[in-house]
């Protein structure tokens, strides 16, 4: 059972990496100059030693750094990520509120980019060095090169301000504000509980930010699919297949597609992680209440527990995706040994 051994080793390494991330995040966030207490106090109160001392004690900031780190890690193992200094809510419940929002956006973006990335990549490869390939090449490079924050503003200007065909910022319209959703995954909830209005509303709010997020991954994916397809097409066994007289379509389906998609799988995994990171800029512009906006605010106000929480979460998703990619990679590529 080589596979199990391999998975076991990878799991241990994942823990090591997460541990390293926690230390680095903790060190950097405490290295940054600034006082999180002052942000949370009024201009007069922040100079009142009694109030400041009470706050420092409350948030454990009066302890030496290593004590703060160990108590954080101890609590973390008990499922407690601490309380956000900024929102005053447990980081876990903040994350529970924001993760579904970001997950939804990143997933739709992934669907966008996989669908179009695959399609465009295949077309490019099939029509290699002909007009469709050239057009799609420019198109995908545009996707990679466009600054997400600028594209967001342009799209908002055109589709919201000028044309008025999509709702503006936020996650839901006025009708659904403050509503309690069973899972927090709005699309899932809307379908499960039969709310077509909610579905329309949520999708409307998701379309622009997801598109912006998808633009660059779609471009990268198109390029990856194209080049790996081309590479496979040059392999000897394909020449053999061709020589054997197999039809073009059959070759494409049986050999090229399967072998050519392997690098793309890696891309899917890696891009999901970068999508989550990319939400910082996009969510800030769209005022979309997700992990990215939460992380950005935590970083600017030095909300240590929230910084730790969001970084660990995004890093964990990255690490997990890498892990899954490697496993799937191993499963579909017979050449890989562990």
């Amino acid at each position: 059972m080589n596979m199990l051994k391999y998975i076991g080793r990878r799991l241990i390494l994942m823990l090591v990496v997460m541990f390293g991330i926690s230390i680095i995040t903790f060190c950097i966030s405490h290295m940054v100059p600034g006082d999180p207490i002052a942000v949370n106090l009024g201009q007069s109160a922040m100079s009142d030693p009694e109030i400041v001392a009470a706050y420092e004690a409350k948030w454990g900031l009066d302890q030496p750094l290593y004590v703060q780190y160990f108590s954080y890690m101890k609590n973390l193992f008990h499922g407690d990520m601490g309380t956000s200094i900024r929102t005053k809510q447990p980081v876990l419940s903040d994350l529970a509120q924001y993760i579904p929002a970001t997950f939804e956006m990143a997933t739709i973006a992934t669907v966008f980019s996989i669908l179009f990335g695959l399609l465009f990549g295949l077309i490019s490869a099939a029509r290699h060095n002909r007009l469709p390939d050239h057009i799609l090449r420019v198109f995908s490079l545009m996707g990679i090169s466009v600054p997400a924050f600028w594209l967001s503003i342009l799209l908002l200007y055109v589709f919201y301000l000028r044309l008025g065909i999509v709702p503006g910022s936020g996650r839901v319209g006025a009708d659904w504000l403050g509503a309690k959703f069973p899972t927090g995954f709005l699309i899932f909830d809307a379908i499960t509980y039969g709310e077509p209005d909610l579905l329309k509303d949520a999708l409307g709010h998701l379309i622009l930010p997801s598109f912006v997020l998808a633009a660059s991954t779609m471009g990268i994916l198109t390029r990856t699919v194209r080049s790996s397809m081309l590479e496979v097409m040059q392999q000897d066994y394909l020449r053999t297949a061709k020589a054997k007289g197999l039809s073009e379509g059959r070759i494409l389906r049986c050999h090229v597609l399967k072998n050519g998609l392997i690098p793309s799988v890696t891309m899917f995994g890696l891009s999901y992680g970068s999508l989550l990171g990319g939400t910082v800029l996009v969510e800030t512009i769209f005022s979309y209440p997700g992990v990215g906006l939460y992380a950005y605010k935590a970083a600017t106000t030095l909300d240590f527990p929230a910084i730790m929480g969001t970084t660990l979460f995004i890093a964990a998703v990255n690490v997990l995706m890498n892990f899954l990619v490697d496993i799937i990679y191993a499963a579909i590529d017979p050449r890989i040994r562990y």
Binding site: I153, T310, N318
Partner: protein
């Protein structure tokens, strides 16, 4: 000579476009004071929010400053920053990856786990935190982005070194008793450079985007320095005055796509696997 230029353009129209874009922006960066019709920092409150046209090709911003001049001056910041980020991260990353791959075993394991850790961070957040920790300046922003960007070079280099290490010419050098470090520096790394160059050339665009993103979030430059990302954020406040964000954003887009056009061509030329056509 003339003939070969035409041939190049016909064969690589995108690369040619990329080179032209970059030539224009490098010219802007070098000759900014000559090209720009106005001083980029001078305010003119009587002429705020002038739309593009007339005396101001790209219009004016909230202080009545000429946006065209500011975009021209912006090239002085963005282009060197993007290149510097790539140089730093590529140099450090490839050396790091080569050492890991060549020495293998525990060294490899430890070095690559560290790279994994950096790679698992949400890049923009880590860069933000580092920029804040180092203190806000252009150089610190560049450093912060480089710190986030090097692991992908390390990974690639390590993979390449692993394959090259076992190749016949390396084994033969080892047999004749060459020093390990010499082999690494003189034989292995040069043999892997072409693939690294491909990655680096496509990475310039990403680096410029990340830098602009950081300045957009307020890390990096301080006013009155004209920097594209910062200028885009300036225009976010009022979308009606679209030109404030549009032109600097378009500059970022152009430079980045130019780099990608060139990078794409470099990939086609250097990547040995792509040499033969189907």
């Amino acid at each position: 000579m003339k003939h070969s230029v035409i041939k190049f353009i016909r064969k690589n129209p995108l690369a040619a476009a990329g080179i032209v874009i970059w030539a224009v922006f490098i010219l802007c960066a070098v000759l900014a004071p000559v090209i720009a019709p106005y001083d980029p920092a001078v305010q003119d409150l009587a002429n705020r929010f002038q739309p593009p046209g007339g005396a101001h090709w790209f219009g004016t911003d909230s202080f009545g400053r000429d946006i065209f001049s500011r975009v021209v001056y912006g090239a002085k910041i963005s282009i060197p920053s993007g290149i510097l980020v790539v140089l730093l991260s590529c140099a450090f990353g490839s050396l790091y990856g080569a050492v890991a791959g060549y020495f293998g075993k525990a060294v490899d394991e430890i070095l690559m786990r560290i790279a994994d850790i950096i790679l698992s961070f949400p890049a923009i957040l880590l860069a933000m935190a580092l920029a804040a920790a180092l203190g806000k300046s252009v150089l610190n922003a560049i450093l912060a982005i480089a710190v986030v960007a090097w692991p992908k070079y390390a990974r690639m280099m390590r993979g390449l070194v692993l394959t090259v290490r076992e190749s016949e010419y390396v084994t033969s050098e080892r047999v004749i008793g060459q020093n390990r470090l010499t082999i690494l520096l003189k034989t292995i790394i040069p043999n892997c450079m072409s693939s690294v160059l491909v990655l680096a050339s496509t990475d310039v665009g990403t680096a410029i985007l990340t830098f602009a993103g950081l300045s957009f979030l307020g890390m990096g430059v301080s006013p009155p320095t004209a920097e594209w990302g910062y200028m885009v954020s300036d225009g976010v406040a009022i979308l009606e005055y679209w030109w404030i964000s549009f032109f600097p954003g378009a500059a970022i887009f152009l430079v980045s796509i130019g780099a990608n056009f060139i990078g794409d061509a470099v990939r086609d030329i250097l990547d040995p696997r792509m040499k033969t056509e189907v």
